[in-house]
């Protein structure tokens, strides 16, 4: 299997987080089924791949047939302190492979249950790109719920696994973000948040209550 992946050469370069000594090691599980058409997700993934101390896994590249290596994924979880789902919002949830990943990797007695303490204390959040504008995600908007409400299944997943849940790092109106020149600033914020998490410069308690992680960045970032 390994040689096949090498050959396809679609795997994102994994920066070996274990080598450097950072406060937190960050694992980003990137899921985009058509990355060649991605306008927002791909720059976010690439920026993360270039940041030191971060492991980026392109799930669709690694498991193109959805046959997920459970042991490998569990080892990855154990080796990191922060777990991030990076994906476009599909029907108010993740693309299919991330759901498959949850179904397979978060086993009883690994992630939950009386003996399932492997993920306790780790930080979890999702980084999403959503087509709808921010105003659509409220009870008066056509999506009727806030983004935090819609992502309650992920929040509860984190809670059941004993993880610390942070609100989503969200880009709204993603289909027009490129034309409106919003991508670069968003990517810059993204790298700032990742670095702050890595170097313990992010106020976790303050961040937990926000409607989205990139709501008022200055209020949760500390000087390094």
């Amino acid at each position: 299997m390994k040689s096949r992946n090498d050959l396809l050469n679609t795997e994102m370069p994994e920066s070996p987080a274990s080598r450097a000594t950072f406060h937190r090691k960050i694992l980003i599980l990137f899921a985009h089924p058509s990355v060649e058409r991605s306008e927002a997700g791909q720059p976010l993934a690439q920026a993360a791949a270039r940041t030191e101390g971060i492991t980026l896994v392109d799930l669709y590249a690694e498991y193109p047939t959805f046959i997920i290596d459970v042991d490998r994924e569990q080892d990855r979880l154990l080796a990191h302190d922060v777990v991030v789902f990076l994906h476009p919002l599909y029907w108010y949830s993740t693309p299919a492979i991330l759901k498959e990943w949850q179904d397979l990797v978060l086993e009883h007695d690994f992630a939950y249950g009386s003996k399932g303490t492997a993920l306790h204390g780790k930080i979890f959040f999702s980084a999403i790109t959503a087509g709808g504008t921010e105003t659509a995600y409220c009870d008066k908007g056509y999506n009727h719920f806030s983004i935090r409400q819609l992502l309650h299944p992920l929040e509860q997943m984190a809670m059941l696994c004993g993880m610390v849940y942070l609100p989503p790092f969200a880009l709204f109106g993603a289909r027009t973000a490129l034309e409106e020149g919003r991508i670069d600033a968003h990517v810059a914020d993204w790298v700032q948040v990742l670095r702050a998490l890595r170097d313990n410069r992010l106020d976790i308690e303050a961040a937990r209550e926000l409607p989205k992680l990139n709501f008022k960045l200055n209020s949760i970032l500390r000087e390094g």
């Binding site: 997920i68 397979l104 990797v105 249950g113 009386s114 809670m159």
Partner: protein, 649 residues
Amino acid sequence: MEGFLFQAFVYLCAAVIAVPIAKRLGLGSVLGYLIAGILIGPVIGLVGSETRELQHFAEFGVVMMLFLVGLELEPRMLWEMRARLLGLGGLQVGITTTLIGIAASLLGVQWSIALAIGLIFSLSSTAIVLQTLNEKGLTKTEGGRASFSVLLFQDIAVIPMLALIPLLALPELAGSGLVESAHDAAALGGEPNAQHGTSLVEGLPGWGYALVVLGAVAFVVLGGHFLCRPMFRYIAGSRLREIFTASALLLVIGIALLMTLVDLSPALGTFLAGVVLANSEFRHELESDIEPFKGLLLGLFFITVGAGIDFGVLFADFGKVLGLTLGVMALKGIVLFALARLFRLAPGDDWLFTLGLAQAGEFGFVLLSFSIQNSVVPPDLSKILALVVALSMMLTPAFFIIYEKLILPRRGGGDEKQADAIDEKGTVVIAGIGRYGQIVNRLLVASDVSTVVLDHEAAMIETLRKIGIKSYFGDATRPDLLHAAGIESAKLFVIAIDDRERAVQLVEHVRRHYPQVKILARAFDVNHLYLLKQAGVDFAVRETFDAALGLGAEALKALGHHPFRVEKMTQAFRLHDEEGLEQMYELWDENPDFSRNRALLARAREHGASLKEAMTSDRLQLHDRTERGWTPPPKGYNNELREEDPAGL
């Protein structure tokens, strides 16, 4: 016979010793040949006057080279470069001729001689420049393409020049016994050779000549298109390698002969034939057949240039010759650089263009001997001029080295990106286009990957071409054909031939000579897979494995098994099988008799047993591979969760 053998021995010996040394020192093969020539000629004196005759013979290498250049150039590409060809080439020849002519007049030469000198020096050396560009991988650069346009124009311009020169004849030189070297008029230029009466068009009126010329060109184009392919197909069917080579040589020599008979340049004729055949399935086969002849003849040509240097005259007039050479090259260089700017060549490319084309060329020799014959240039002057041409050619490799060492490094990182973009496209060479290779090729082509397909069945190629699959005739296990198909610049090499032994040899060959190319191969069975692996294949699949697995899965479904469970079983089987293959490879040896490898047999039995367990047992591997993750948590796990309060973290 002895004399011939001795000569051949001397020339080959000089080449074999000097060229690799020159190449290793970074001087390029052309300079190596030239040095070899100087050593055996003027320095040691092993060869003498026969070099001039040999040179005319060797000039046929240029004709072959243009045939090969034509093969690389599809008609569409030729049409696309028409502006460069006429603009850049025309201006270069026109302006250089004028300036050098004026300079010569200023030095006190009569105007007609000055004009002839201008014409002689306006030409550059197709042989040296194309050979060097090729060797250094600069052919596809902007500078390389521009150089090629100019050289092509020059080769064509030789024809009208040969018509013009007799008009410049000086009455006082005529009839002074200078025609002794009538045969000096080389085969290359295809100039009228009235003394020997080999011209078909002698004595024809102007319109008749025009008609004959048009007819000959039309014959080459139409014949190349309609006659050559059936002929090659017929010959390929005979499966005699040397007869194919013979017919390729016949084609080139035949066209050269036809062109000479109608007073056209043979180089131009074979170039045209090459262009016509560039689209044909025999392109790579022809390339690999002609290439060695071309290489040797060109090498011989360069040796004769070196050997022909008259050191007596050179030392007598050293300052004068050197001054004139540098003057001519500087003048040519200025014109070239100005044109490069005018045609907006990128920085760096303009220098390649300027330094590369600043010399005089082999056509200069042709024009020179023709001028002597026609009493245009006096013989004393011609000796000096010949030295200038030779010296400028000798300096050219040094100029390319200057370009590589001084100009290229300064071009900086901007070009790296461009190189990447080309690299990303990367071609795939596919050997064998039977039932197996076809599927591989279709998938790749459907994904916009450019492929070069090779097969030794001419009939198969013909069928494929009819349905629009671009493929070439040739035995992919021959190194020279792989080379012609561009294996060096390919990203992947796919082996889909059905000859097991040759497939393994092919992997070994490509792995050794082109380590950067990834090799994917079709394996016949496990033993063949291991042989391929041992030879260094990057990825190989057993040809029947996937198909059989698919049919097995269908069988399970037909028996009423749930399709998704069948899918999981199939995947489990595949993974288990792949693991077994890896494990057994460690114990495998080349001995084809499996029964004598006890360790391997034991492992195979073990693995077979574990497979049964994996597939039938409801726990262990089967569980891990087919059910893991979908296994529901144990009954009553809710009570556990209620006791804890993970949300309080």
